[in-house]
Amino acid sequence: MAIEQAIERSGAAAAAVSTAAGGTMSDAALRRVLHGLDGVDEVGAVARTASLATRSIKKDAKLWALDAAVRMIDLTTLEGADTPGKVRAMCAKARRPDPADPAVPPVAAVCVYPDLVPVAKAELAGSTVGIASVATAFPSGRASLAVKLADTADAVAGGATEVDMVIDRGAFLAGRYGLVYEEIVAVKQACGDAHLKVILETGELVTLDNVARASWLAMLAGADFIKTSTGKISPASTPPVALVMLTAVRDYAQMTGHQVGVKVAGGIRTAKDAVRYLVLVSETAGADWLTPDLFRIGASSLLNDLLMQRAKQLTGVYSDPDDFTVD
């Protein structure tokens, strides 16, 4: 594997990687590691995802996938117009997605801005639903480290169990990998026990080589999850991007034994899309990742389509969209 070779070749980087706790990573050392990764051929990656998109998921396999997708959702609202009322309604939906069918599992988490975390916390008390909050000057990430850390601390203090941070894409594209790395390390520390999801904003990184490098950078810096997008930039999550990130977590686990999760977010609205992502997960990272611990889907309208398809699988007929609550 090229990364292993790159690390072996680069003594400085190897030392830095193995003693990364508290250490300082230089741009040059990180560059040697990240640019030593296997290249990604975009045509090939697109062809692979197109081929996997033809998998035909039927019957029990489909029902399992629909339930799994519900359990993996981070039910999200990230609008300037968000209010406590909106968040409370969404939390009710998260706990019990289908009032008519208690067999439908709750979603993995809700995802809100930091100032609304206390509202979600109160609403979700006693449930298994996690509270994720975007932080670090989401979505652009254009603020000082102090502001980003304060943002994070605010979310955690409010009760967030998961923090979705954005990386500094400007720094990444300028080759200042050390800066990106240090920020992730600092935010991770500010998170305390909260899970850290690192948003790469792949729509701004553009190339799949960059996606692979940013994935490794985030994992080396201690990310619990790597996440595709903020949802504010187009394109958001795409299957080739997810393929590259799933490949990265697979390789990282093989090398370190540590399994990092993947979250896809943005534009995933249909059950069909969700099932295709699960196929990607299953056939790239493997069955280990088919759990909300290691795979999440950031979405809002997706949930009702999953419920509708689930009802169709169970009853054989399509329901009226108004049979499912809009929250």
Binding site: M1, D38, V40, K59, T128, P292
Partner: protein, 512 residues
């Protein structure tokens, strides 16, 4: 496969997480129910769309008729060994009739017809192939054993694309670069193989018809059904009688056809041994000849290759259509410094391949086309064991009935082994290593064949350096088994001569 560490805790032997902190605590219980294995439920494509007759005649002069001597052969479903239909076996008298019909059509209707008019028929055939694509795909998978995913996504769309492509040339032959007023060649006898039955028929018929030639097509003994359905499409398109004739049968039918004095042109795709026989039969007769024969392609992976995509390319190169592809990447040349890493990922990827019912939409590896071909694959792979190469296949249960062979890799192969020299035409990959680009070229070219090659590297200059030196009709860079009607295809040496596809493909059917 990916590390099997359970949950989020790292195994004791593994390095600590890079941030030096303990792995984050598990997400609250209740949402962590282990998923178990997610097995795809069977998703078989329905066969209802196809109606297979119990008997098929020969397609001569626009009509179906039994062979004059009444002989028939039975075509099987190779996945189950169940008979599909009885098909007429054309004898010498039938060959006479078909060639005469093609000659008449050439002289009276098709040859004199303006190119723009001929194009209309080709477009009609192309559209009918698209409209009836599912029917063709199911029939192809039934008769050939290939996965429906491939017949649906590759064979049938490409066949239609060839007709569309050459339809566009029919009224532009003057501008094809063969001089002013190129004339059609006349009557072509075309013998095609069983690995891509409809696609090979399209490769042969489309350029011939565009050029104004007429055809007598002989599909393979084990896969006649889609060629017969294509004959039906020709009727549906109103193609004048005799322009396309389809003679089903076995080797004797093909031999009688290529030896027929009424032909102006013979085109053959198939084994090198038969190609040599045809070459001898045609020598000195004045017939034009093009041959597309075997191959033993080198798929060359450098240590700076995009490894995951290269692994996909290796899989596609040798397991597409169960490796029954003349341009299959059957020799994997790995740069020694990257060999172990690539092989690890290749083995992990092979473990995810799904072998089974060709009609299941999730099947990756289907059945071998015939008992005879299965025997040949077994014989050659046994020689790999005997000569000291190391065999590996993923855990893989083969169906009890039908002709099946698991995806197989041989490592420790050297140039002198039979499995490195002879075309296996099955899902069997021979892995060799090299140290330098020059050594890769030398090993790749060290074969009597020269049909295709693959080069995997992120270095653009090396791709050009390699492709100038590889003796192969097609060199794929960072991809494999890509086909397009606009791109010429053909070989060097014992892989044959002549080109099919593209502007070059017209030359075979023009008197230019």
């Amino acid at each position: 496969m990916a590390a099997k560490a359970s949950g989020r805790a790292a195994p004791a032997t593994a390095a600590p997480p890079a941030d030096g902190q303990a792995p984050a605590p598990a997400v609250p219980a209740g949402m962590t129910a282990p998923p178990g294995r997610w097995d795809y439920a069977p998703a078989p494509e329905s066969t209802e769309i196809v109606s297979i007759a119990s008997e098929y005649g020969l397609f001569i002069n626009g009509e179906f008729a039994p062979a004059q001597d009444g002989k028939q052969l039975i075509t099987l479903n190779p996945a189950t060994e169940a008979p599909l239909a009885k098909v007429a076996m054309a004898g010498p008298a039938d060959v006479d009739r078909a060639v005469a019909a093609a000659r008449t059509a050439y002289e009276r209707t098709w040859g004199p017809m303006p190119g723009a008019e001929r194009a209309k028929y080709l477009y009609r055939i192309a559209r009918a192939l698209q409209e009836r694509a599912r029917e063709f795909a199911v029939l192809e998978s039934l008769d050939n054993g290939k996965p429906i995913r491939e017949s649906r996504d590759t064979d049938i769309p490409l066949a239609a694309a060839h007709f569309f492509y050459y339809a566009g040339w029919a009224d532009k032959l003057e501008y094809a670069g063969f001089g002013p007023g190129p004339r059609p060649l006349g009557v072509a006898g075309q013998v095609i193989p069983w690995n891509f039955p409809l696609l090979m028929a399209a490769w042969k018929l489309a350029p011939a018809l565009a050029a104004g030639s007429t055809c007598v097509l002989k599909p393979a003994e084990t896969t006649p059904l889609t060629a017969l359905l294509l004959a039906e499409v020709c009727q549906q398109a109103g193609l004048p009688p005799g322009v396309v004739n389809v003679l089903t049968g076995a080797g004797e039918t093909g031999a009688a056809l290529v030896a027929h004095p009424g032909l102006d042109k013979v085109a053959f795709t198939g084994s090198t041994a038969v190609g040599k026989e045809i070459s001898r039969a045609v020598a000195g007769t004045g017939k034009r000849l093009t041959l597309e024969l075997g191959g033993k392609a080198a798929n060359i992976v450098f240590d700076d290759a995009p490894v995951d995509q290269a692994v996909e390319g290796i899989v596609n190169g040798i397991f597409f259509n169960q490796g029954q592809v003349c341009c299959a990447g059957s020799r994997l040349l790995l740069q020694e410094s990257a060999a172990d890493a690539v092989l690890d990922r290749l083995r992990a990827r092979l473990a995810t391949l799904r072998l089974g019912d060709p009609l299941d939409k999730n099947t990756d590896i289907g059945a071998i086309n015939s008992a005879e071909q299965l025997g040949r694959i077994r014989e050659l792979s046994d020689s790999g064991d005997a000569q000291g190469a190391e065999r590996w296949s993923p855990p893989c249960e083969l169906p009890a009935r039908g002709f099946w062979f698991p995806p197989t890799i041989f490592t420790g192969v050297s140039q002198s082994h039979r499995i490195a020299r002879e075309e296996i035409f099955g899902p069997v990959l021979s892995v060799l290593t090299f140290r330098t680009p020059q050594e890769a070229v030398t090993k790749a070219n060290n074969t009597p064949y020269g049909l295709s090659a693959g080069v995997w590297t992120e270095k653009g200059s090396r791709i050009l350096w390699m492709s100038q030196r590889l003796r192969a009709g097609v060199v794929w860079a960072n991809t494999f088994n890509r086909f397009d009607p606009a791109s010429p295809f053909g070989g060097y040496g014992e892989s044959g001569f002549g080109r099919e596809g593209g502007r070059h493909g017209l030359a075979a059917y023009l008197d230019a």
